[in-house]
Symmetry: C2
Subunit: 445 residues, 2 copies
């Protein structure tokens, strides 16, 4: 018997430090856990529901976009061909459609030149962080718990992150002010804050409107930029309209990250940055922050694929640049699912039972996520058991904490499942939680 191993390999410890960081493992895990247990009912990934996707529509959307180019913009067939096939403008070709859409849908009024079309919101995070963070003492404030995409991007660029704890009502502006002051007192600089004000991933919390206004005051006082990420803003459980930070931003403090992954579809990988800040060169020349992001984008992806822009452009044209209106079915689907999930939790764990078992959860105003607190330790081993023995998947909350935390919490996502499977999955989850809690109680001394 011969063993063949390669004579040499690269040492993992000799690769970039981010590759040994558990955060990046968590992100891979989030993306691929679904495929590991194909039969399990999954409350794990924050993926959109697929039932509303129609593959045959791709061609229609492409046709809508090229018709728009020809009819509305007066493009010749040769120009249409160039737009679809050739390298394109670094900051994108549907920036004008996006500027109209964010104005219509969220009252965010920026020039089309302030829009950077990106390969998902993830590329937007990378561009914004790279542009803003110049000194080793620059620090990024992040909510805790936090979306791993931003903390991972910070790791890639060796940017230090400082967690700011979230409360029941999302991020507390005074906690941000305190964190910025603490960072300044240590000789560093809080350069920017990352926040999802609407239905945050993973916590599901939202900021009240007065807190949003106060956060902008705090940012101004601390000379802090705010990176607002808003993938779930449309999906409220009530009819209440929540203004984005960007729509309240009179001082151009907010860099806004948008995504079409949930309002159109993720396979296009289309996002955008609104970056209307002015940048002043030593000679007094002024450009937009969007222009600076373009320089960086030319070194990450050159430009966002024109195919993706054409398909999403077609959807925007067809909607009259009013995605909120054309998303009514989607909004209703997620609203019903979130209500159903909360109702089923209530049904399986009525209030007295809940208290005696030591189980609780929050009641988000919208979005995809609910956080359940349980008495036992929630880790990947518990997840493995849940998937194998109960056929149900979810995400351990500890993956989302930089500084420990979430050891007794799991995140449920209601976005990916049909209502019937949601009911079935909740029954499996309730059984898992009940059994684990009993085992845990039995192990107590």
């Amino acid at each position: 018997m011969t063993e063949t191993t390669l004579p040499r390999g690269l040492a993992l410890t000799d690769l970039h430090a981010s590759l040994a960081d558990p955060l990046l493992e968590a992100m891979m895990f989030l993306n691929e856990v679904t495929s590991r247990f194909p039969e399990a009912i999954s409350f794990a990934p924050g993926r959109p529901y697929e039932g509303l996707f129609e593959p045959e529509r791709i061609t229609d959307y492409l046709a809508d976009y090229t018709a728009y180019l020809e009819r509305d913009l007066g493009f010749t067939p040769d120009q249409v061909r160039t737009t679809l096939f050739q390298y394109g403008r670094t900051n994108g070709q549907i920036h004008d459609l996006i500027a109209k859409t964010v104005a219509n849908d969220d009252g965010m009024h920026v020039s089309a030149d302030s829009v950077v079309v990106t390969v998902g919101a993830q590329e937007g995070m990378l561009l914004a962080l790279r542009a803003l963070f110049a000194r080793p003492t620059d620090v990024l404030l992040v909510t805790s718990p936090c979306y791993v995409g931003i903390t991972g991007a910070a790791r890639l660029l060796d940017i230090e992150t400082v967690p700011v704890p979230e409360g029941e009502s999302g991020l507390d502006p005074e906690a941000v002010a305190e964190a910025a002051a603490r960072v300044a007192a240590s000789g560093r600089r809080a350069r920017a804050l990352y926040v999802v004000p609407d239905f945050a991933n993973p916590s599901g919390t939202s900021m009240a409107v007065p807190a949003r206004r106060r956060l902008l005051e705090v940012a101004d006082a601390a000379d802090l930029l705010v990176i607002e990420d808003n993938p779930y803003g449309f999906f409220s459980r009530d009819e209440q309209f929540r203004p984005t930070l960007k729509s309240l931003d009179t001082e151009r403090r907010v860099i806004y990250l948008g995504s079409f992954a949930k309002t159109c579809f993720p396979g296009a990988r289309l996002g955008y940055v609104l970056a209307d800040q002015e940048v002043v060169a030593p000679d007094g020349g002024r450009t937009l922050l969007a222009d600076q992001l373009a320089k960086i984008k030319s070194m990450t992806t050159v430009n966002t694929p024109s195919l993706s822009q054409a398909v999403i452009g077609g959807i925007l044209v067809r909607s009259g640049c009013r995605l909120r209106d054309t998303n009514q079915d989607t909004i209703r689907f997620y609203r019903n699912n979130l209500n159903l999930l909360l109702d089923e939790l209530d049904r399986h764990f009525p209030i007295t039972r809940r208290a005696s078992l030591g189980i609780d959860w929050n009641t988000p105003g919208g979005g995809f996520f609910v956080v359940v607190t349980v008495p036992f330790v929630v880790d990947n081993r518990a997840l493995e058991r849940s998937a194998r023995d109960y056929g149900v998947l979810w995400t351990p909350m500890s993956s989302f904490y930089l500084d420990g935390g979430g050891q007794h919490q799991l995140r449920l996502s209601c976005s990916y499942v049909e209502p019937d499977r949601l009911r079935d999955g909740l029954a499996r989850l309730a059984q898992f939680i009940t059994d684990q809690t009993a085992t845990f109680a039995g192990q107590k001394p």
Copy 2:
């Protein structure tokens, strides 16, 4: 009259240092110079010729790919929908088709798991650099002159680059050995070398086969990884087949960057990395470098757009994973154009005239680029004059030198123009060069 300026802006000097780097300006310039002088005949950008693109084929390619999923892979309609619309595998969904294609076209035999599908070769550069460069003393060797995409990506990640001068026959392996030794003697480490062995951008030079073999020996001796970038390999002027470094690489020293921008079309923004190196964790566990690149990719773009993968996948399926065969028209087009460009230079500047004026150029074995040496200074002002007064565009070679150089050289690209316009453009260029040379001679004391 009132002037409205914003009360505050971000200081450019307070943004990341790469944004003040002339290199990134050069890349933006390369991408957008064409739009500044729409009437000029352009030998500036290395863009592919558009006459061979057929917009109506996009739908066919999509259909070919979905037929492949259903027929060859046995996907259900629901699975096809997921593949097109949903988030996907981080390292891509057409990795198997790409592995087959590089085996057929270039004799590069790697497992499909070693393939990372990227948003253009540019993202591949970013991923490879981020993974490999762990210490502040790690240095990237680059050819000089060099493609700005790699030096720009290095700037984004604060990676130091050390230029290695190219000769007439491309990169000299002994010069690489010397550079690596010099770097080591200074207490730093030459971690990797970036090279385009076939028809380099911007110089047009190619490495002879013995030099390729010797380079691999040098890399092995110096414990250096080689990042091979090969966007132009198909487009030789003769029928000679040039083996890629990767196909000669028995020690897994070579990380190969591929691109479909020139062999399919740029609008898909589709590239790939072949990263079959083994990575050894402290516990002895082995993964592929491709797996490590996936962790980074999950923080740059999450996954490459499925639409782009589907369209390029369709092209690969239709070609039987033999792109070299289906590229025969394209290969012929560029070959004819490059021959025509060299012939026209000869016609305008016959050998005696050439010598008396102090004008010369190289004779690349293929690719898109020819470098012309002239007696006058070639800068952006000369380019402005050429575009405005002569209606012809090209690229100053000085943009491609890190350490000065190329002040009397300009790069011509033959890829973007029809033969008739090429002839016309060369006449304009000859007039410009003649006039500038005369002015220059008149200014001499």
